[in-house]
Symmetry: D2
Subunit: 284 residues, 4 copies
């Protein structure tokens, strides 16, 4: 019997060789812990062990511990599905948004429809481009010029199909002991606005991400009441949004270009998924 | 001001070039749906939309829908952390298993300690090697000879650090209308036993996976009462286990070697994580 | 300063005297345990201890353990709110059923609108009336004549405002080791049908209950696909339904008339609530 | 065939007559709503509708909506089981607290062991006794003299077996738009201290309750770090504690003595249960 191993070809071998030559994998996800900062609009992350070792041991001396978790899909590091946001009653595909969710799930644009992402990623380090060692100010709107200047400075122009990660520097507040600081409802949060979102979509990016909870600029005191960048990206242009990313390590290492990998849980009909995105680079 | 872009070197460029030359990404995860087959030992997956489009529209015409999920971490496609199983009161690191979980989490061997996996993956297609078009029989114990024969037949010997995915053919039952079939408590489920697990560990693999709910062979009627392969892999040898994988597509396409990527949620102190593993190959 | 203790009047004193003369309180609720029988249509009950004693002790030597629970509201012993069922797109109050739940809750007919019940209760012991020591047959439809005959035999005619609890004898299966027996999807479950529900409503009862999971007769193999008694009671007549009750002890003691007390959790906008109903009688 | 209706005796008839003469039922529970004030130490209350009317209509024109809830058992109005608190490694029954919860539940002192309460209840209106129309000050420790004075003023001395509800006036903050006010971590919360708890236990009460989240006095800034009244009541004296009660209506109506009814969910092995307690008085 003969078989044809169709894909163990030169291409896959080259891919594996590139990886096996040594890569560094940056973890761009936040740890999921009880009490971590998150929007009060979403069910919080909670975790418990229904069974622990020591509870019951099988006759063979073995035991298994297990978990229960309960959470929203827009807490911790996560990706928004296109079903997450509507504008004037319509979703990205033009469907009636109220009808689309009848049945308690979004079969057409739910999280299960987000294909795993294996693409070129670019970090746009805005504070580095603007000379702001402490990061962007609360509520600062990152402009197209800021984004463009960051890409230029780094020598990493965006290309169609890329994933663009916008660093504002705000991520350093994620571990602040005052859990409300990162949310920033009173102070505002830096991020792109409508113009920046449009510029990113115009570059043809597949997805965008940021080190903040809402990706986009939140003016002080505004909460999450107006989200024009979400509208542009999720409803008008079909660009995924990744939020609450950990980008400090990439920035510290001046890693601006990488293989970006993100594999959302295929939660049928959901509006998003918790994720742990990766940036893979050759180890120097 | 000059900056050193230390990692956009030739290596990363080669990696990106290999990807951008065209890859196919196989999705090795199962869809998370209410009512999918899962072990009754674990909290079942459930999902609901607290907010749907049409519930409330902001003054700017926008609306956001969101989710709540509740689940165990050993339901759907998932990876076991080393904290999942103990033997004779000890975990992999020799620590006292009962003590290790004091506080309601496993800080040392929890899911958050599983580094993202970016490694060579090998599918061991056992039914193909054994000439069983309908897959292995319920309760069949896959032997080291079976595994070795599959690797040989495919021309894909295991190498240290690899991820070895053992296909039994059982995965076709995942979507069976009788949800108990896949669980197989009465029929038994095929998989490796202690000998197969030891052989895999002896090859130096980093992780193993299978298309069944418990990875290892379950004799008919035994439930999950004795799990020697879990002991060998998780407690004695430090090899991660990935369960409930979707391997049929890889097998149908004769894809036996690939770049394997798995990025578990960093759930602090948990005993496992739901995942959506990927197999990346060059597109021919 | 003088105060008027307006309600510590003779009436309340008499009420307290009646209680303090000695009462027996029958517990008509089922224990909430992981794995108990419940409809697969609803999120199952699950429980875990996020914190246990021994996890962390405060400097003063104290510690507190706590819980997480996740569940549907139609699992275990529970009461249906009028928001639970609609017919031809309408709820009990004539409102559009789809509109009524916009916002993810039912503000007008939700569980929070169920006033606590403190009323005369009557057990209608149908198997006793029919001379069936093993209880009604699976799928048996309890008729108005059966109900009437039970009330007559007991000497406890129904009065307007009462709570009528219909015992079928099926409750003995709640603890059966085969958890599917109580649900009875294949066998059917005894209970009133449309005629019995109408008769009960015609007596002017405030609420009805039964020792089964769906209150009403389920023909073999029908699942929960047609529920005429629910329509009559919840949509047409405004009679609450209490399900999965424990009625065996009342029956064994020949207690057919009692003070019935039920205090649902005021879950805002929910379609039901888990409850633990009580039957209070004078201790003889 | 003759039957003996053993309990439809004069006693039960008198009880029913007392109720049917007209009673007023005070609802002493808080509504369960998303975002209500609760301790951050416990899993928050969340609710969603997996199915709504309009999602799917059966062929007969009927539809059913349902819920999922996830929560701790010490959120909203709730009762503490004796398993909730330990002191120096011991529970109320002298058992080793760490051992008692092995298995992930407390079989001996869990919520399922709390018998339904049908007893005389007394409201101790402390602000009325102290002449404080705005309620007790934040962090004020209610003394035995305060409690005694309230009972005297009202003419409702405590009797063994009673349920004593201590009103501090703090309950008015439950609906404050700043959800942190009711929790009072920075301001402190009024309540009894060790002395008051001891005095209450010395009166032989069966259970105590209050209109605050922790029943006992919390000094400003102390959080929930030292809880002597919990120790006295739950570990030393065997007196149940009910928290987050709604007592304003009783106070406004000068209702100080009543039939108190509380029926906790029989959550097997849990440390507490959400409840909706009732005060029943004769309608004047």
């Amino acid at each position: 019997m003969t078989t044809t191993n169709i894909t163990s070809d030169a291409g896959t071998a080259a891919l594996l060789a590139a990886v096996e030559a040594g890569v560094r994998v940056y973890d761009l996800g936040r740890r999921l812990t009880i009490g971590m900062p998150q929007s009060p609009n979403h069910p919080p992350f909670w975790h418990a062990l229904p069974r622990r070792h020591g509870d019951a041991v099988r006759p063979d001396g073995g035991s298994a511990a297990n978990d229960i978790i309960t959470m929203g899909t827009h807490v911790g590091t996560h990706i928004d599905a296109f079903s997450h946001v509507s504008q004037d009653g319509r979703l990205l595909d033009g469907s009636d948004a109220a009808d689309a969710g009848r049945g308690g799930r979004y079969p057409d644009l739910g999280a299960h429809t987000i294909a795993p992402i294996v693409r070129r990623g670019v970090l746009l380090d805005v504070p580095a481009a603007l000379g702001l060692p402490d990061g962007c100010e609360p509520g600062y709107e990152i402009t197209p010029a800021d984004l463009s200047s960051a890409a230029d400075r780094q020598g990493t122009p965006l290309r169609p199909g890329d994933v663009a990660l916008v660093r504002s520097g705000w991520g350093r507040l994620f571990d602040h002991e005052d859990r409300t600081r990162y949310i920033g409802h009173t102070t505002g949060v830096p991020g792109v606005g409508e113009a920046g979102a449009t510029w990113l979509a115009d570059q043809g990016v597949h997805a965008v991400g940021a080190d903040t909870i809402a990706f986009e600029c939140l003016p002080p005191g505004a909460g999450h009441s107006v989200l024009p960048a979400h509208r542009v990206l999720l409803v008008e242009r079909g660009v995924y949004i990744i939020e609450t990313m950990a980008l400090e390590e990439l920035a510290a290492d001046n890693v601006h270009e990488f293989l970006f990998v993100l594999s959302p849980l295929a939660i049928f009909g959901a509006t998003g998924s918790p994720v742990r995105p990766l940036a893979v680079v050759a180890r120097v």
